[in-house]
């Protein structure tokens, strides 16, 4: 029975197709060393400072041990010598949709990009493997002076801005995987919003990994100047693979005084992908940063979006959901660093474990000395769907200031029999009832998403829940 279910899910895996990718125009050899890093930098024709930055980062990566706190035998299983660190699907970026190669277009068709265009969802940066092959910026964005491009183009065209902010939020030495990303990064998004400008349509990028043993190391930098607003959406899907892939992104957000950034991610990597991501935001005076973070796929995700609240009145929010099924471990959470008085933060985490999956919430609330008037509230709820599954909660609160209000609450439970009974008494089957209850459990997250994403997520959950009962 269990096997049948697995096959069913595998067969129906929404994005579980795979294109012929023989047309890769450049593919570095497997493994990582200074030659590869040099090659990547040369291919991209980068300025000297970036080249040196990559080499410096590689040294840090090689010298840093795996994080000891994770105690994760899964992590130890990553073979860094068996991964491609850079490849480029076509020689140059397509300027318009017509210029994009046919096989890549087919991939995007299935990801729904033309649809997104039709729906005026904004500029699209579509990342195919390591390099952006296509992106368009809508004219209204250009008129407002908003810069939205892939990171490589950002470096070429706006070197002054990139150089000023790049790696200032997450330095390479932050952790082993941020060092790796800093050494071999490719693609990702670069966004700069001028002062006072409000971008009223969400900006989106689609990412894909599409070659076996292919690593993806995108690098995103978003700078919101004073009083501006931007919402960025990152949706990840990856096709079926037989061996493990590594995805290790670095995302840096900078919200200047009074700026507001919302960053939405839905991660649905295929269940062989390691998703080890560093995401961090700086929020200055009265700035507001929101991470909306959904983790559905991957073999192992380790991701703790952070907000450093650097100026008085800054506000940080993380709303995250995690779903782990057979063979999956979602180790997700959030960090709020209160480095200024009268800053506030809210973390809401919801997780569901099923078929032996494991979800962990790992978080940190840190309040520095003298930061009075800080308020922080953390709420974690976990649902366990069967006796094989596991849920952990590892919150940490470090408080060095007196006049603060720090609260943490967590619950772990199963779907209530009374709830099930009630819903089933209205004529629903057990599967339908369970799906409905789980969807309701995730509702606070789903309602923060644009409609297409909300619909897709509900469908994904329904698909995952099928066969989970009985």
């Amino acid at each position: 029975m269990a096997l049948e279910e697995k096959q069913l899910v595998d067969k129906d895996y929404k994005y579980g197709f795979r294109d012929q990718t023989d047309s890769y125009s450049f593919k570095s050899r497997k493994g990582i060393d200074h030659d590869i890093v040099e090659q990547i930098s040369q291919m991209k024709n980068e300025p000297q400072w970036m080249r040196e930055f990559r080499h410096r980062s590689l040294d840090i990566f090689l010298s840093k041990p795996m994080p000891a706190w994770a105690k994760n035998e899964v992590l130890e299983a990553i073979d860094f010598d068996d991964i491609y660190y850079y490849m480029r699907a076509s020689d140059r970026e397509g300027k318009t949709w017509e210029d994009v190669p046919e096989d890549i277009k087919r991939t995007f068709d299935r990801l729904g990009i033309p649809e997104a265009e039709r729906k005026f969802l904004g500029g699209v940066t579509a990342q195919y493997d390591s390099e952006v092959v296509y992106h368009s910026i809508r004219k209204d964005l250009e008129a407002k002076g908003v810069l939205f491009s892939d990171m490589d183009a950002g470096l070429r065209e706006h070197e002054d801005i990139v150089r000023k902010y790049f790696a200032t939020v997450i330095p390479p030495a932050d952790n082993k995987f941020s060092a790796l990303n800093s050494a071999v990064w490719s693609g990702g998004s670069f966004i700069w919003v001028p002062p006072g400008v409000s971008v009223d349509i969400p900006l989106q990028a689609y990412f894909r990994i599409n070659s076996e043993n292919m690593g993806q190391f995108e690098r995103t930098l978003i700078i919101a100047e004073p009083g501006s607003f931007v919402h960025y959406i990152e949706g990840c899907t990856a096709p079926t693979y037989s061996s493990n892939s590594l995805h290790s992104a670095v995302v840096e957000l900078i919200a200047m005084e009074g700026a507001h950034i919302r960053y939405t991610t839905i991660q649905n990597w295929y269940k062989t992908v390691y998703n080890l991501v560093t995401k961090r935001a700086m929020a200055y005076k009265n700035a507001h940063v929101e991470w909306v973070d959904g983790n559905i796929g991957s073999k192992l995700t380790m991701k703790y979006p952070s907000v450093y609240l650097m100026g008085e009145g800054a506000r940080g929010e993380v709303l995250s959901i995690a779903y782990a099924s057979e063979g999956q471990h979602q180790d997700a959470g959030a960090k709020m660093i209160h480095a200024a008085p009268n800053t506030t933060s809210i973390i809401t985490s919801k997780s569901v474990s099923k078929n032996g999956g494991r979800t962990s919430y790992r978080g940190l609330i840190k309040v520095y000395e003298g930061c009075d008037g800080v308020k922080s509230n953390v709420r974690c709820d976990a649902l366990l769907m069967d006796p094989q599954s596991r849920s952990d909660t590892y919150p940490t609160m470090e408080v060095d200031a007196k006049d603060v209000r720090i609260e943490h609450e967590a619950t772990v439970s199963k779907v209530g029999e009374e709830q099930l009974f009630y819903v089933m008494s209205r004529g629903l089957t057990e599967v339908e009832a369970t799906t409905m209850i789980v969807n309701g459990f995730f509702e606070p997250f789903v309602k923060e998403l644009p409609m297409e994403y909300a619909v897709e997520l509900n469908r994904l959950i329904a698909l995952e829940m099928e066969g989970s009962v009985g």
Partner: protein, 405 residues
């Protein structure tokens, strides 16, 4: 042969300590020697902690000497009502108990230490204990009054409490050592359907480094209520571990910390649900004055198969002064689905509204905040549910409620 080779290796950095431990084994049963030497080996296998070590990085070791000292006897003053003695209650030194009750002592000392966090100093205490006390409440006996065990000197105290089936007992273990270093272990075994209230009171000297490991095993249908009261010591690091081993086992775990000056308290708790239908409820509170620092890390573990378990865990910290700090890390590890588990943690100052309210009744700020702290703690003492145990503690700790100036 094995024994001598182990000790040869041990004679590296701490030759005198290893020799001293070897000397302790002279007239002991061989199983006990094995336990000591195994623990010594674990002690030596763990690096000396620094401020960067996991489990230590939130503490300051500035001006704190954590180097171990030589074993010195830890006698307990034992107070047992004569009527209870007459009912067969035993309270004597462990070496005496080894002669009269070896199987029970062995059962308490050589069960293989199910706890998950046996650290360096706990291993040392297991190897180096000297003196100590053994308390046994036979099956079905209900104590007329609580047993009191008090230690005022020694370096590696050890207390064993074995409560038989269907017995009802209460015991208070008090520590007032004033040396530089003490590392103690308390082993608690609660038999089927028994009920034990256990208070651990730490009022050691202001310069003492205090390590304590309390490990309790609770059988089918039994209930253990523990209260930890932390007041003394320069640095106090405690592991409080409860394992619920039989269906229907239950534990309330309570803690109170009064920290002032530059005192550091580090409590680690384990609520280990290893059987179905078990219940645990933990409440640890600390009030922090001066430049004191409290670290709380606690974990609820619900093992596979421990269905229909309920577990609760709360840590509340009251910051009374600008320089006080509180770190809290309440953790859950759940491997069964039919459970109900919640935990919560708070850190904050005295509620300004409460102060205002009491002020409006004519109380000055100092009296008002003292009343609020008393109330904050009284709530925990009430939950112990045995006034014979908590009443003496209320008066004893009144001086600690005075605010620092």
């Amino acid at each position: 042969m094995e024994r001598s080779s182990l000790l040869d290796r041990a004679s590296g950095p701490q030759p005198s300590l290893a020799d001293a431990i070897k000397a302790l084994t002279a007239n002991e049963p061989s199983w006990l020697t094995d336990v000591r030497l195994g623990a010594l080996k674990r002690f030596e296998g763990i690096a000396t902690p620094t401020e960067r070590s996991e489990g230590w990085r939130r503490l300051s070791l500035e001006g704190i000497d954590i180097a171990p000292v030589a074993p010195e006897p830890s006698p307990f003053k034992l107070t047992v009502a004569s009527v209870d003695r007459a009912r067969g209650v035993i309270a004597k030194t462990i070496s005496e108990a080894l002669l009269s009750h070896e199987p029970l002592v062995r059962e308490a000392l050589a069960h293989g230490r199910g706890g998950r966090t046996v650290g360096k100093y706990s291993a040392l205490a297991e190897a180096a204990w000297l003196g100590g006390a053994f308390v046994h409440v036979p099956d079905g006996v209900e104590l007329s009054s609580p047993i009191v065990a008090e230690a005022e000197s020694g370096t590696y105290p050890r207390l064993i409490v074995v409560v038989g089936k269907n017995a009802r007992a209460a015991i208070t273990e008090t520590h007032r050592e004033r040396g530089r270093f003490t590392a103690g272990i308390s082993d608690i075994v609660v038999g089927e359907n028994a009920h034990l209230t256990y208070a651990h009171v730490q009022e050691c000297g202001p310069k003492t480094v205090v390590f304590s490991h309390q490990h309790a095993r609770i059988a089918h249908g039994a209930k253990l209520v523990t209260l930890n009261l932390g007041a003394g010591g320069a640095l106090s690091k405690s592991d409080v571990e409860v394992e619920l081993l039989g269906a229907g086992a239950e534990s309330d775990m309570l803690g109170l910390v009064f920290a002032r000056g530059t005192q550091q308290f580090d409590y680690h708790t384990l609520q280990g649900h290893r059987a179905s239908d078990t219940h645990s409820d933990l409440l640890f509170k600390s009030a922090l004055d001066g430049h004191s620092h409290s670290v709380y890390t606690g974990v609820i573990v619900i093992e596979k198969g421990a269905q229909r378990s309920d577990a609760y865990q709360a840590n509340r910290n009251l910051l009374l002064a600008e320089g006080a700090r509180a770190d809290t890390e309440p953790k859950l590890e759940i491997e069964a689905d039919d459970v109900r588990c919640t935990h919560g943690a708070t850190v904050g100052p005295i509620d300004a509204e409460q102060l205002f309210y009491l002020g409006s009744r004519g109380l000055d700020d100092e009296t008002a905040s003292r009343l609020i702290v008393e109330g904050f703690f009284q709530d925990v003492l009430d939950r112990v549910g045995d006034e014979r145990v908590t009443r003496p503690l209320e008066t004893k700790f009144a001086p600690h409620l005075e605010r620092e100036r």
